[in-house]
């Protein structure tokens, strides 16, 4: 967690080359940084600004606006349960309750071992398969509690080598006191 690696820089430069203006590559570049560190760090923001000929303040504005970029520590696996109407009607609330009980954390929190973060999100655009959960780039549709348990069991018992150190909490001095962490 720090500055961008040479590989990440190369990836960002490659993406930027597709656009007439480099800063058009900002959103994918932030994903590259997030893939590298798990979160988008201030150092990465400064590096991206330099690579894309934007200012750090501009990049930080974008990175902190979109909820899919994490600025604070998150777990290795991020379980995003859709909480919008269709999913709610089809029982996403029960999934949420079950996750809270099973993982021992509240929505928006991370397990102490740094393995899971779980949050509810707005519509994932798959109402036909409600209730839906997003894990990484994979959709789990018509999800039951039983299937959810199986997913968690699978991830929980993955070998330790596949389980990096949890990212350290980034002190974010601009956060309002009492504001909810993302």
């Amino acid at each position: 967690m720090a500055h961008l690696t040479a590989e990440s820089r190369q990836r960002i430069n490659d993406i930027a080359a597709r656009y007439p203006e480099k800063r058009s590559a900002l959103l994918p570049a932030l994903y590259v940084a997030q893939e590298q560190d798990g979160i988008v760090t201030d150092e990465a923001i400064i590096d991206i600004a330099e690579l894309l000929e934007a200012t750090p303040a501009y990049v930080k504005g974008v990175a902190s606006f979109y909820t899919m970029y994490y600025r604070y520590s998150v777990g290795k696996y991020i379980l995003q349960v859709c909480g919008t109407l269709s999913c709610e009607l089809c029982g996403s609330g029960q999934l949420v309750n079950h996750l809270e009980e099973r993982l021992g954390i509240k929505e928006g929190e991370t397990t102490p071992d740094g393995r899971f973060t779980f949050e509810t999100v707005e519509c994932l655009g798959a109402c036909g398969g409600a209730p839906v959960m997003l894990l990484g780039d994979k959709y789990y549709e018509k999800l039951t509690i039983k299937q959810l348990d199986a997913i968690i069991d699978d991830l929980r018992f993955k070998p330790a080598s596949d389980h990096p150190e949890p990212p350290q909490l980034v002190p974010f001095e601009d956060k309002p006191a009492g504001a909810k962490s993302t």
């Binding site: 400064i46 601009d174 309002p176 504001a179």
Partner: protein, 693 residues
């Protein structure tokens, strides 16, 4: 014009230009629509929702700051529905606002405060804890941020994006956490950062140097002119009971500042308040002691008379003195003391290049004014880095580049900030100015060529209206005639009637040149002849003083001393009888034999001539410190002590004398100078077309 749009606002019909925003049309009728995010110089954004109005036929209320007028529109700005919306918006804006008006710098001149009294709810219904942030954050050298007060109008961010292009502040987070901020390690140090203080409609951005300056209702305002550089930005001096200057504010004049100020000017007023000379002084037994005005004047006059008419006196007068002061100094020096060694600068200036604005005119350019930049599609800067040399003119060039897609060709020994916006950076070795200009001129004439010069030349060979900007650094060239010739070639290559704007260093350098505060030139830009031709330049005066060829120096204002090598200055001043007239001894390394206490620009009436020859008035804002007096009165006293009477008894009378002595000023009517100034004749364009605002 027949293409006006007719609409009705609150029952009144108005005809206005198409694309006028509703909020502006309402203002034309004198109807107040409250706004926060709207600003006439920034692009509409519709962020604050304060300006909602009802348009008949539209289902919902509409923001008037983003809606252009349309034929037949019927708009209501004052009905119950609109008033309810305003009340609601203010209730929202105030949810997290700390309501700390009693300790807020903005209190008393705050639109949030004013509109809350006028339109807002009397009490809040919000029963939860308010959001709290650390405050104030110093986000830049001059700027403090209080995010609790911020209402997210984004004027500051938009200014940094659209006007200065220094995007050092941004909008972070979203929803109720949304805030303005900087990235650690990248502070808001733009040299235009102070403008965001003025733009901020609440007390979220305040000036670090001016924090807690006082309550706004105890502050008086006086129009004046910034002395930071030669742009002649119009300022408002804010002062407390005429005692001390507490801040400077912009005072829009489209001919000079276009509504903005740079931080160097805005925060560069401490010399008015600090280290001031309050009394006249004389040197007794190696000690400076307070003296009466008369004692000091008599002593100074005796030194001056001793060296009058003998070629052993040198005079340096600061280019931030008023025209009236400079004219008086010139009168005493040449007419009474029969001395021709007088200069306003101690930096190296080639004698051929002193009157740079005349040089470019003789080269074939039209004498340009700053507003010519607003008309130009192609701008050529030669030997000038506007970021340092005249920041506010840099903003004017940026406006041309950003808003009108003007193109820039820059000739400078280094990459300058404006160079970011052009591929035509002609970077040359110092000393190569003439050959670079000449090769550009040749390439323009042949319609192109190799390399950067060729590309720039291809650009410039089009018919597009052009403006050329030259900087005073060119004055220092040892071989100036080659450059003058090259400028002549460029002028003829670019075609007829191309304006050339001369950038001078100080707020009244142009005035000093017009008034003959330079060896070899008499008032009115008349070349000196005969005995007065042999006057020494500033640097020669200091060297001669050091070497004992001069016996006395009269220095008015310390600025010329700061331009020379400090060792030379020290040696020169220690070696002569030294009369110092100024507002502070801070920059005077040697105790003078006589000290005459002069006021600063903030304490007197007078005029300055800016870089393009615009004569602008200053007005006394604060009372003179101690016994200090306007320079022309001190000079008049010296004249009387020497047996010569100075006719003028007021600044207006001095100006009348200047009018008679300087042909370029002869058409200027004192009553017309007003608060916005008048262009002096020599450089007035053929027709003062209405410049864009």
């Amino acid at each position: 014009m027949s293409d006006l749009v007719t609409l009705t606002i609150d029952g009144q019909q108005i005809q206005t230009a198409p694309n006028t925003l509703l909020v502006e049309a309402a203002a034309q009728l004198g109807i107040l629509v409250p706004v926060y995010c709207y600003h006439p110089k920034l692009a509409p954004i519709g962020a604050c929702r304060m300006c909602l109005v009802e348009i008949e036929g539209m289902p919902k209320l509409t923001p008037s700051c983003t809606t252009p007028v349309k034929e037949g529109m019927v708009v209501h700005t004052q009905n119950a529905r609109v008033e309810k919306a305003r009340r609601g918006m203010l209730e929202f804006l105030l949810i997290h606002h700390p309501l700390d008006c009693p300790v807020c710098d903005k209190g008393g001149e705050c639109p949030l405060q004013d509109y809350t009294y006028e339109f807002g709810p009397r009490k809040t219904r919000f029963r939860y804890p308010k959001r709290h942030w650390d405050k104030p954050l110093q986000i830049g050298k001059n700027i403090l941020l209080d995010r609790e007060r911020c209402i997210m109008c984004l004027r500051c961010v938009r200014f940094c994006e659209e006007i200065s292009d220094h995007q050092q502040i941004g909008v972070f987070e979203r929803g109720h956490s949304q805030c303005i901020g900087t990235v650690p390690g990248h502070s808001f140090d733009s040299q235009f950062s102070g403008n965001t203080i003025e733009l901020c409609p609440v007390g979220a951005l305040t000036g670090a140097p001016t924090r807690f300056f006082g309550r706004t209702w105890e502050i008086q305002h006086t129009p004046s002119i910034c002395t930071g550089c030669a742009a002649g930005c119009n300022i408002r001096i804010d002062h407390r009971q005429q005692r001390d200057v507490v801040r400077l504010w912009s005072r829009e004049n489209k001919h000079t500042d276009d509504g903005w100020l740079c931080d160097r000017g805005r925060f560069g007023y401490e010399f008015v308040n600090q280290d001031r000379l309050k009394d006249f002084k004389i040197l007794q037994d190696g000690q400076l002691v307070d003296a009466t005005t008369q004692q000091a004047t008599v002593k100074a006059a005796s030194i001056l008379s001793k060296h009058a008419n003998s070629g052993s006196l040198g005079v340096l007068a600061s280019p931030i003195l008023t025209n009236e002061e400079l004219y008086a100094v010139e009168w005493l020096t040449r007419s009474v003391l029969q001395t021709s060694s007088i200069d306003h600068t101690a930096s190296a200036v080639n004698p051929q290049a002193v009157q740079l604005h005349s040089v470019v005119r003789e080269a074939g350019f039209r004498s340009g004014v700053l507003t010519d930049i607003d008309e130009a599609a192609q701008i050529v800067t030669i030997g000038v880095d506007l970021s340092n040399d005249q920041p506010i003119t840099e903003l004017r060039v940026k406006k041309a580049l950003f808003q009108r897609k003007a193109q820039l060709v820059s000739l400078y020994p280094e990459t300058i900030e404006l160079g970011r916006y052009t591929e035509h950076n002609l970077i040359y070795e110092p000393g190569q100015e003439a050959s670079v200009v000449a090769s550009l001129a040749a390439a323009v004439r042949s319609g192109g060529g190799e390399g950067v010069v060729g590309q720039a030349a291809r650009l410039l060979s089009s018919e597009a209206p052009k403006a050329v900007i030259v900087g005073w650094k060119l004055q220092g060239l040892s071989d100036f005639s080659a450059l003058a010739k090259a400028l002549g070639e460029l002028a003829s290559a670019l075609g007829p009637d191309v304006p050339c704007i001369t950038i001078y260093p100080n707020c009244n350098t142009r005035g000093a040149l017009d008034l003959g505060i330079t060896p070899g030139w008499l008032p009115g830009g008349v070349a000196a002849t005969g005995s007065s031709e042999s006057g020494m330049t500033g640097i020669q005066i200091l060297e001669a003083a050091r070497d004992g060829r001069l016996k006395a120096l009269w220095v008015v204002g310390a600025e010329p001393l700061l331009e020379a090598d400090p060792e030379l200055v020290k040696a020169a001043l220690a070696n002569v009888e030294f009369i110092y007239q100024g507002w502070s001894l801070r920059d005077v390394p040697v105790d003078p034999d006589v000290v005459l206490a002069n006021v600063t620009f903030a304490e007197q009436a007078g005029t300055f001539t800016n870089t393009d020859g615009r004569v602008q008035r200053i007005y006394p804002a604060v009372k003179p410190h101690g016994r200090s007096r306007p320079g022309w009165q001190i000079v008049a006293d010296l004249g009387r002590a020497l047996g010569k009477t100075w006719e003028a008894t007021s600044d207006q009378e001095v100006f009348e004398q200047i009018r008679q002595a300087v042909p370029a000023y002869s058409q200027i009517k004192w009553s017309e100078v007003g608060t916005l100034g008048v262009q002096s004749g020599a450089s007035a364009p053929p027709a003062m077309a209405g410049a864009t605002g």
